[in-house]
Symmetry: C2
Amino acid sequence: MIRYAGQTRALVAVDCIIFGFDGDNFKLLLIQRGFAPEKKKWSLMGGFVQVNESLDQAANRVLKQLTGLENVFMEQLHAFGDPFRDPAERTIAVAYVALIDIQKYEQQLSQEFHAKWFLLNDMPQLIFDHEKMVQMAKNRLKYKAAMHPILFELLPEKFTVPQLQTLYEGLYETEFDKRNFFRKVLSTGFLIKQDEKDKGNSRKGAFYYKIDKEQYNHKFEAFLNLIPKQEAMLI
Amino acid sequence: MIRYAGQTRALVAVDCIIFGFDGDNFKLLLIQRGFAPEKKKWSLMGGFVQVNESLDQAANRVLKQLTGLENVFMEQLHAFGDPFRDPAERTIAVAYVALIDIQKYEQQLSQEFHAKWFLLNDMPQLIFDHEKMVQMAKNRLKYKAAMHPILFELLPEKFTVPQLQTLYEGLYETEFDKRNFFRKVLSTGFLIKQDEKDKGNSRKGAFYYKIDKEQYNHKFEAFLNLIPKQEAMLI
DNA sequence: ACAAAAGTGTTACACGTACACCCATGG
DNA sequence: CCATGGGTGTACGTGTAACACTTTTGT
């Protein structure tokens, strides 16, 4: 086998930015790092890419280790490669963003790591360039959610339209007209109304909806317009 | 210095997908690879990331080596890390997309590499997963150009509106109404009309325009709408 | 009965599209 | 004077925003 002479090799890691939504606020899943350097400091969940796995496989393995979840929405964000981003040794980190249903996670929580959800606006200091990663992930999420129905990934199977609205309002830190939002969401054509109501937030109760997976996938790449244009301009 | 024990290291390369526009068609700058494996085969311009440079720096260095150009629009596309993408040795490739003014390039052409422009629809077979990279770059360009005035980067300092339209039509492989396109483009507010006309394509001649850099940067992230909605749906 | 959230109806208007038309000029 | 591409004017329709109003139900 031919090898490339005279080149230096580097470690390659994947880091997962794991978003969740608890019904009121956006949250990020962090762990307390178990090894040096920066042991005990808060960090994104990450790990080194192994010999026989691709980047995507590595990210999914890492996510499963921490959350027990598989087949979750996850995509590559960006590769970070500043020479001294990890003081111990040159490491290229490929960051991934995952959106998970926080309730599913709680059922499968792995005890192995000291993982904890943090409010996006109340996070501890993170190691290395992880804060930069989180910032980029947040921006990308805002960007993408303005046009694609990506935030549905954060909700449980059954959810109400007001819940969805709270989710959007949380991300964009603003408020939308509920009546227009309601119609826009329904007009996407991939919500299936359930008979059951959620009475948690009002006396009247809000109907639950489920996603029509086929329609959802079909329209995912179309440019939806769930948030008002003025807000979109500020992303 | 602490090192991470028991982990394998990999080569890290950057590969540049360099787009140009010759006035009629989109083109891609490729080189004939000068070393094994796959010597003499066509390839994206790439190189290994050096000890002291970041990924962005590596990509800019590589771009400069090939084209002599600096301060060009370039951004990271995606990291590719299939275990056997390079048969010689495990290599993680971080792909970058660059948009250059083909005329500027011709003035500064480096003879060191056997570089050649290829029509997007008439490309040779490429090594490794480079075709996948090109495909992804093309999709991303289409996606992004639908909302941001990114394609201006491909034109010379002075250009006409019909030239710009040809560029857009080339990318989306369709035709737009010239009258509506004209107004849309001007309504962005960052085109400055010049006194001079281009008489190359018509008897009447089309006025040249320049970019108002400040306005351009200011509106870059806003969601413009230069292509008709029906086309946007097909991205 | 009332408060509070869910959901419906209605209207005004901006924007995108379609398309008729005029303009400038070299052959 | 006519062909050709550049550019202007205008009318129509859809989709979005704004907001008044009705529905439901626990206390």
